[in-house]
Amino acid sequence: MRTFISGNEALAHGIRLARPHVISAYPITPQTTVVEHLSSMCSAGKLTAEFVHVESEHSALSCAIGASATGARTFTATSSQGLLYMAECLHYAAGGRFPVVMMNANRSTALPWNIYGDQRDSMGLLDQGWIQLYVENAQEALDMSLVAYRVAEDSRVLTPFMINMDGFVLTHTYEVVDIPDQELADRFLPSYVTDNRFDFDSPKSMAFSVGPEQNFRFKFREHQAMNRAKKVIAEAEKSFAEVFGRQYTGLVENYRCDDAEYVIVTIGSVSGLVRSVVDELRRDGVAAGLLKIRYMRPFPDAEIAEILRGVKAVGVLEKDISFGYEGTVFTNVNSALQVAGLSVRTSNFIGGLGGADISREQIRDIFQSLESDGRRLNFLGINREEYDD
């Protein structure tokens, strides 16, 4: 069914179709309407799930973990400061191998206080052991809700899954979205079966301690599982295309990069604007391309290096900054290039912090600056004379 809805509502429909058993959420700021929609669906009988209102984000994720430890499929959603308040529990979910799915509306972090979109909240939590996906539009948010459970609950992966959506730009804007039938969703997504639960037939110790001698081996296994997710994501998207007829591009998207000389690397919703500028520049005869990173963890290092092989210059555009160094996406991309032995000229463009608009003109300027040796680290809209160095 095609309908005109917000990104939040689209994601809520995706979660509804995944038939979670337990949804836990803190309903107050910085929460989005995702959980409000799910709550309405539950009360209207359109979704049979236990909806638990809790007193904080820390409790929201704890509740989802506890429910997952009974073998339930679980969901929670949050944003910015709420995600940060969950930080302790993020490790519990990942280390305990509980495949919780969470939607995070990417919004800026305090201070100064601001509720508009940037990606510093989730980028600051890359090392928590969660799969991190960044979607570009409302349809993808809906579709990836189903893919998320399929990947997270796969016995080869068993890793929690964070679906990141740019705050406001994606969560609060309206698009035409195709809501698939339940029957198709059921065909795509098997039910969750696990030994990782309270078991009354054979009681086990849940979430046990492990001494120093073996503890790091668990972390090694966690790392292996996250890497295995790369293959499972590809399988899930192939199956998704067969069932729903929509094909996604895996860990990254290569848009006109094959013969490109200048490529902008993006993440999330700004990709649409860059794609459009690439088309304009191509009409003007500039060999421009876009590399969109969809998954920050597991990180698609080989895929990125393969696409950027032979490119003259790369600009990484991102909505976060690791103060005192550079953007985190940039660091990761440079590492991927270095591992592959590629010496491509790269520079970093920080934009959109605190919801600042990124304009078409600024994207064109980035492409232009890639043609000459510019600064390594650039803040969009900051004049050259304003830098100290």
Partner: protein, 109 residues
Amino acid sequence: MSGKNDEKVRTIPFVRQGKKLTVGEIPEITAYEAGFLTVTNASWRTETPVCDRNRCNGCLNCYLYCPEGCVYRDGKTGKIDIDYDFCKGCGICAKLCRKGAIIMEKHGK
């Protein structure tokens, strides 16, 4: 005092028996029998929970609340038993047992 677990050695093959694990033997999950991959840890107990099996109805309420996960089910009787290698003697099980089946026995002077 019944401080023995007759079946304890049945399926807990690892650290308690001094065996080394290979990475392949590490489970993908963190749900296993009590004390898996840790050394025994019970010396701080000053009281020991003892289950009266005639009163225990196997509801497993104690299992759900045991912070050490050291309550297990006796395969033959369906009633509970406690792994004393890992029980810290906190007494939560005795406190919330609805049948009054668990009694905390003080250790001798």
